[in-house]
Amino acid sequence: MKKLSSLAAAGVAAFLLVSPVAAQEAADLNDLEIAHVAYVADNIDIRYAHLALAISTNPAIHEFARTMIRDHSAVNDQALALLDKLGAEAQDNFLSQALLENADKLVDEMAGLRGAAFDKRYAENELAYHIAVNDLVENTFIPNIENVEVKALFEAGLEIFKAHQGHAEMMVEQVSQ
């Protein structure tokens, strides 16, 4: 994938998550902190999707954005139900905050774009974002989660986000033509 390096550079989140220090600290998070990161990461993608629905006029981008909202909301509902069942509450932490900070910057940046420039930026960010989050979930979170039910939910979530990654690849190709 020749675009990967520019995409990764474009995604601030991707940069954050591949830095070795952040990766080590991410590995030290407990289950409830991990759950918080995932919940925040879901909500960030939902926020990007709402921005896309507001700005883009491309029907394929709209369809993709609606799928992001639908699926990430479904995962968050499951996560909340599980936390409720476990009688636990997700715990805010440095990584959740860093993700939110980066998302604020990206939303500001994308909000200034229109037309094809927005579609391209949105699609590329979706790809970079899903690659970064999937890497974090697969290689850092899942091996470190202790609760079996939480782990199972992350495995199911990873399946969904990998499908999104593939879908985002299609979107990037489509808007680059």
């Binding site: 609606r66 639908r70 699926d71 479904a74 199911a156 499908a163 879908h167």
Partner: protein
């Protein structure tokens, strides 16, 4: 649209769903069919891990197909030519359609277009 939809919401997931559907003569996913009183067959397609299973299904007009979603993500089964559509199938839900003439051909998930499958109507 001549299709008949039936939606059943089952909190207990796949096992409960299979048990509930056994009352309406659903086949196992592997042998793929179960003959009802008038020769109509009930087919079950499971949607799991972003795949339709079985991905290829031979049906006859008048048969019933039930799509059952075992994923957290909502899916649809939608004809490529737009002629039929189950609508949204949420986690743990199943939707059935009675096979009408012309339903043969490819279908996909509107939400996740990489998910594809095929119906073939036997003469």
């Amino acid at each position: 649209m001549s299709v008949r939809n039936r939606r059943s919401v089952l909190a207990g997931g796949v096992a409960a769903l299979a048990a509930a559907l056994s009352g309406v003569r659903v086949a196992g996913a592997h042998d793929g069919e179960d003959h009802g009183a008038e020769g109509a067959v009930h087919h079950l397609v499971t949607i799991e891990r972003f795949k339709f299973e079985p991905a290829e299904l031979s049906v006859s007009v008048g048969d019933t197909i039930t799509w059952m979603n075992a994923d957290i993500a909502p899916h649809t089964a939608t004809a490529k030519d737009g002629s039929w559509d189950t609508g949204t199938i949420k986690k743990g839900e199943a939707i059935s359609i009675t096979v009408a003439p012309g339903m043969t051909g490819g279908y996909f998930c509107r939400f996740h277009p990489a998910m594809k499958a095929e119906l073939e109507i036997d003469a």
